[in-house]
Symmetry: C2
Subunit: 345 residues, 2 copies
């Protein structure tokens, strides 16, 4: 795009009119893409995250291959846990593991102060490189995990379905919980501000697993800490606030903050946006499973979402969660084209 013109993605985040609905996809750089797999054949996941040159290359792949309207930094929400000294590992197949999970009030209180800028400088270097390589073609999004989602990994020791240990901890040790959440909020804010300093033009706060909570628990145990992160961010950079299965929490997530609220596919975009109020932007919300069907199905589902948004300023098209690794690349490309064509004004 022409230098100086404001990119549609950033305009949409700020609820300004755009020539077409911008689209990017969570996990748009990932295993479904041959060029990503080629890089991963050389580098392990953590190694890739820590190689700014390769991570920047992977960040740009979907921009070149798919024509999406934003790039998102290639990194992982759990990188920030590594300097906390809890023994983070990415195992093949089983996903992330925390070697020394936080299971006591003492352990929660003992999480060290860390200098994220020092510990995660490699991420900022990826940001700088990716931003330079993008040369203003599309904006670059940074991201971090929200305190609840980070805490859930710290406590469970890995992915979880029920989050029983996390829920028990927050109820039994409310003070230690609050201390840990405040620590995580501050680390997260520093980390996102560092990314902004390095050049990202928007940030997404991933509270991926917060949908496991009841609204009352979200309000008591999570909202103040997510709000703390968002309030501490440098102004002028749009914030997207996202979680999965959050239909019952969206109004509270909005209360916690964010210029854009991310929706998953389990809610209808139109009525949900109306309930949230039109003074906030929304992002979403195609079921990533639709991309495994055929182009006809993709077209139909995209139509429904765009109809729900009714051309109102403030809609960023996305999936309701990340691209599945089984997804054909040509279906993802087709989705990007379909959204651009259908929404052209």
């Amino acid at each position: 795009m022409a230098p100086g013109a404001s990119p549609p993605f950033l305009q949409a985040c700020l609820r300004r009119p755009v020539p077409f609905t911008p689209i990017w996809l969570m996990r748009q750089a990932g295993r479904y893409m041959p060029e990503y797999r080629a890089v991963r054949a050389r580098l392990g996941f953590l190694e890739l995250c820590k190689s700014p040159e390769a991570a920047a290359e992977v960040t740009l792949q979907p921009v070149e291959r798919l024509g999406v309207d934003a790039a998102i930094l290639f990194a992982d929400i759990l990188l920030v846990l590594e300097p906390l000294g809890v023994g983070l590992e990415f195992t093949r197949g089983d996903g992330p593991r925390i070697g020394r999970p936080v299971r006591s009030s003492q352990a929660a209180r003992a999480l060290p102060q860390i200098d994220v800028d020092d510990a995660l400088g490699f991420v900022y270097e990826t940001v700088a490189r990716a931003r330079k390589a993008l040369a203003d073609r599309v904006p670059l999004i940074g991201f971090a995990g929200a305190p609840f989602t980070l805490a859930s990994y710290l406590i469970e020791g890995g992915p979880s379905r029920e989050f029983l240990l996390t829920k028990a901890f927050m109820r039994r040790e409310p003070e230690a919980w609050a201390i840990m959440m405040t620590r995580l909020a501050d680390v997260t804010a520093d980390y996102l501000n560092g990314q902004i300093g390095a050049g990202v033009q928007a940030v997404q706060l991933f509270d991926s697993w917060v949908g496991a909570l009841s609204p009352a628990d979200y309000r008591a145990y999570v909202l103040p800490h997510s709000r703390r992160v968002i309030r501490a961010l440098r102004p002028g950079v749009p914030v997207i606030h996202f979680g999965v299965g959050t239909g019952g929490l969206l109004a509270l997530m909005r209360e916690a903050g964010g210029d854009v609220i991310g929706l998953d596919w389990r809610v209808e975009l139109g009525p949900t946006w109306a309930r949230l109020g039109q003074d906030v932007a929304v992002q979403g919300n195609l079921d990533p499973a639709v991309l495994l069907a055929d182009v006809g199905a993709i077209r139909l589902a995209a139509r429904e979402i765009l109809d729900g948004a009714a051309g109102r300023p403030g809609h960023v098209f996305n999936l309701g969660h990340g691209v599945h690794k089984e997804t054909p690349v040509e279906h993802v490309r087709a989705l990007v084209d379909i959204v651009h064509e259908m929404s052209a004004r």
Copy 2:
């Protein structure tokens, strides 16, 4: 209770005033209970389901131990799949497995007509025995899996997180999907009617995993079939319609049918009931994880739910999903007492 008096649980299902809010708990007979574990030390899971004497005994255990206001038949939603000849097994630890999953249009169309009354006569015998043993102390609830949830096991071959095969199947093979769902709906209706004939006084339709779908997909691929089940049921027996993570689907589930809509803890009971309309009863919606905390937390959370219901006729107290196996029995007992005390009118 006195013979002839109408039990609070059934009254609440019909939105009639009750002296206190009735409560029962999904998976109230289960591994968290020593007397259940004692029975399981003798009998495998499937063996227990097929032993009417033991299954009836297990059905009554929570009534005796907890003082709940309804018993629920001890059985499994997948039993109905066994006579379909797909190779159902319950493995230790991994849960149910379907040896010959349905992966093609042909396989879906080839599901045999079965005589459920013949194949599942042992369930009806459990019903008759449990009903007799209850001697009208509390009503007996029957249940079955809803067509979507059954189809998802048939296609995935076991439990799933993403339901990618199921979603791909319904989109790629809509005709075979409809044929299979119709077959499952008819089998389910026959099975529930058989349970009613044998003596259950209410039924719950478990569409446990339907929360994985978008509202548009629910409407297109599920609603007509769940409605078919509910419309085919013998009149006069309240129907509870339940799924997990269904915040965005509740209005559509209501449209499909049911006297009582089951809510999980991810939605707030008060506003959700108001949106559904007060001409339907609701059941729920405590997060089962709360039972792992302490009695103070349980009291607080129960209070919140009862306040949400505001004493309106038509609330059955329950969890938002099944009791976790790690739950202390005395916490479950405490919950039952707390709900009875707090709601006494």
